[in-house]
């Protein structure tokens, strides 16, 4: 009798659904809200949207930007809406990606004047760009494509060739944008983020994976990575270092975002079970131990959203900067008192051990209690041939250049 009632109720529900077929199933909350407690439902914390049309640098308080003595920061190019990841071409072209817009830009430096060209249009969240041996690789939400000889055809690039497709078979919510970099093994490394704030990832989600551009065959390199939108290889050890965003809605100071090292293939960095190497998740961490997982090298601060990172190998900066990491902290939004919004320097000794970590460029964060608290947001860093450092700001659509001049 009981089961009959269940069945008839199910039948009725199905019938009702069919009768009102024009009503789609209720839309879930946006992934940034996923994992909130009922009490947090009335929180006013929210991610910040970029100015999608860009803002002219002439309208911004650039004098607030601070760098250490001897360094100088200036606007290198503006008018690049939602400037995200950066890649440098052999001939000096700076390629710039975005996430909400659908373009890839090329900035060409001609006699000190910079021209911004829109070289690719209509792409699907083309957040990842990497350049190698004349070829630009672009990671979209669902695929990676290659554009051979791109620097000779900036005004009329040929159709991209697919390296790998099917990277987003279910149009996943959450962290679907990809960072892209070529490893010392010649393979293209990219993240597949978690499909929400704190959820059980599916097949090859919450990973850093790689694909051989010659064969299109991929494998997963690191697991338990909630979302990494920045990685690079140590110039001496060749090990993969990567930034990772911790989960949200566990409080202002928990958990910390991470800087990790993958010393070999197959390591698991803890998500969704263990955060910051030592804190079990209140839901997924039950009955687990953080000792199962590889802890971060250092904690980068709660909710600071570390993105692009590069090792500094140039000769322009003083010797102590050699092989240091520069990384962009894009947040925070998920804490009541904001922090971050800077370029962060991680100093390593010759053995690759971290000896110091501190903000290097500050000044975007102007009022830690305000909404918005900042007027710019660093996304990626790029070392230029002369040893200067570019970084992108997607909030305003600007590239800045940091240089050093001996006193």
């Amino acid at each position: 009798m009981k089961s009959y009632r269940v069945i008839s109720a199910a039948f009725l529900a199905a019938f009702t659904a069919a009768a009102f077929a024009q009503q789609p199933p209720a839309a879930p909350p946006p992934s940034w809200q996923q994992g909130r407690t009922p009490e947090q439902a009335s929180s006013t914390l929210h991610p910040f949207a970029p100015h999608l049309t860009g803002r002219p640098s002439s309208e911004l308080p650039l004098d607030k930007l601070k760098v250490p003595a001897g360094f100088k920061v200036e606007v290198w190019a503006d008018g690049i809406p939602e400037a995200r990841s950066l890649a440098l071409g052999d001939k000096g072209t700076v390629f710039v990606s975005n996430r909400i817009a659908k373009n890839v830009y090329a900035v060409v430096d001609k006699d000190g004047k910079r021209e911004v060209k829109t070289i690719l249009k209509g792409l699907n969240a083309p957040n990842g760009v990497a350049f190698s041996k004349g070829t630009l690789y672009v990671a979209e939400r669902h695929r990676i494509t290659r554009y051979d000889g791109i620097e000779s055809s900036l005004d009329n690039p040929s159709e991209g060739k697919v390296v790998i497709d099917g990277l987003d078979p279910q149009t996943q919510p959450g962290h679907f944008w990809k960072f892209l970099a070529q490893g010392p093994d010649g393979k293209l490394y990219f993240n597949v983020g978690a499909p929400g704030n704190i959820v059980m990832p599916g097949y090859f989600q919450a990973s850093i994976s790689r694909v051989d551009p010659k064969t299109g065959v991929m494998d997963t390199y690191a697991q338990g990575v909630r979302n990494s939108v920045g990685f690079a290889w140590h110039p001496v050890t060749n090990q993969l270092w990567f930034t990772e965003h911790g989960r949200d809605w566990l409080g202002d100071d928990s958990p910390s975002d991470e800087l990790n090292v993958a010393t070999k293939k197959g390591q698991n960095f803890g998500y969704p079970y263990c955060h910051q190497g030592d804190t079990l998740d209140p839901e997924f961490g039950k009955n687990r131990s953080c000792s199962e997982f590889t802890p971060p090298v250092i904690k980068l601060g709660a909710h600071v959203a570390p993105l692009g990172m590069r090792f500094y190998t140039g000769k322009m900066f003083p010797a102590e900067y050699r092989n240091n990491i520069f990384l962009a902290r894009h947040g925070s939004w998920n804490r009541t008192t904001k922090q971050g919004y800077d370029i962060y320097r991680v100093a390593l000794n010759e053995n690759g051990k971290v000896v110091n970590a501190e903000p290097f460029l500050t000044g975007f964060l102007t009022d830690e209690k305000a909404d918005p608290p900042m007027w710019g947001r660093p996304v990626d860093v790029l070392q230029m041939k002369d040893g200067s450092l570019l970084f992108s700001d997607d909030y305003n659509g600007i590239l800045y250049r940091i240089s050093y001049a001996k006193k």
């Binding site: 024009q22 789609p24 209720a26 839309a27 879930p28 909350p29 946006p30 940034w32 809200q33 439902a41 009335s42 929180s43 006013t44 929210h46 991610p47 910040f48 949207a49 100015h51 999608l52 049309t53 860009g54 803002r55 002219p56 008018g79 809406p81 909400i100 817009a101 659908k102 919510p173 909404d371 918005p372």
Partner: protein, 191 residues
């Protein structure tokens, strides 16, 4: 104004718009045919753009141009605007004063509205006085029919949405809630 008249007005505006924009930057006066003098709409289906946050205006123009948000009138209007022109229009209209709302809220809606605006988290993003902020629009004093159409669109999951936030928020609204909220919000004063 009926629909065909509205379309004719929009078409005329679009024509003069393209003629003018070929010569100079975007002229805010060309938006007036539909959005009213200084951006204060007098047509219930058309939104007021005066005193909207600048980032909201430029983002919507961007979304129309890029095809992420579609509208038979606005899509062609935005099609040829540069980012700079969008920023200029946004700066101009964000600085205009909002007119006193012409909509008269029914007493029942005026009584129920504040609680609904709390319960459905409108104030959480649009602000305690529902004046909008950053990329989030001012709702206070917005046109009734426009508000109702947007809420229905979000509920039906057909209205463009940057991150799915409004689509999600609208799922909890009954048809009655939509009526009450639109009636309440459109009668609220905007400074």
């Amino acid at each position: 104004m009926n629909r065909s008249l509205r379309s004719a007005a929009a078409f005329a505006a679009a024509l003069s718009f393209f003629t003018a924009s070929a010569a100079s930057g975007a002229d805010p006066q060309l938006c007036a045919a539909c959005h009213g003098s200084e951006g204060n709409s007098v047509i219930s289906a058309n939104p007021s753009i005066a005193a909207q946050p600048g980032q909201f205006i430029s983002m919507q123009l961007f979304q129309f141009r890029e095809g992420n948000r579609k509208d038979p009138q606005m899509t062609p209007m935005a099609a040829n605007l540069s980012n700079k022109e969008m920023n200029e229009l946004a700066a101009y209209f964000s600085k205009q004063k909002a007119a006193a709302p012409s909509h008269k809220t029914a007493p029942e809606s005026a009584a129920a509205g504040p609680n609904l605006a709390q319960q459905f988290n409108c104030v959480q993003c649009h602000g305690p006085a529902l004046l909008g902020q950053q990329h989030i629009p001012r709702l206070a004093g917005q046109q009734f029919e426009y508000l109702r159409t947007q809420l229905r669109g979000f509920k039906a999951q057909t209205r463009a949405d940057l991150d799915g936030n409004m689509t999600s928020a609208a799922q909890a609204l009954s048809d009655k809630d939509v009526e009450i909220l639109a009636d309440y919000l459109s009668g609220l004063p905007a400074p």
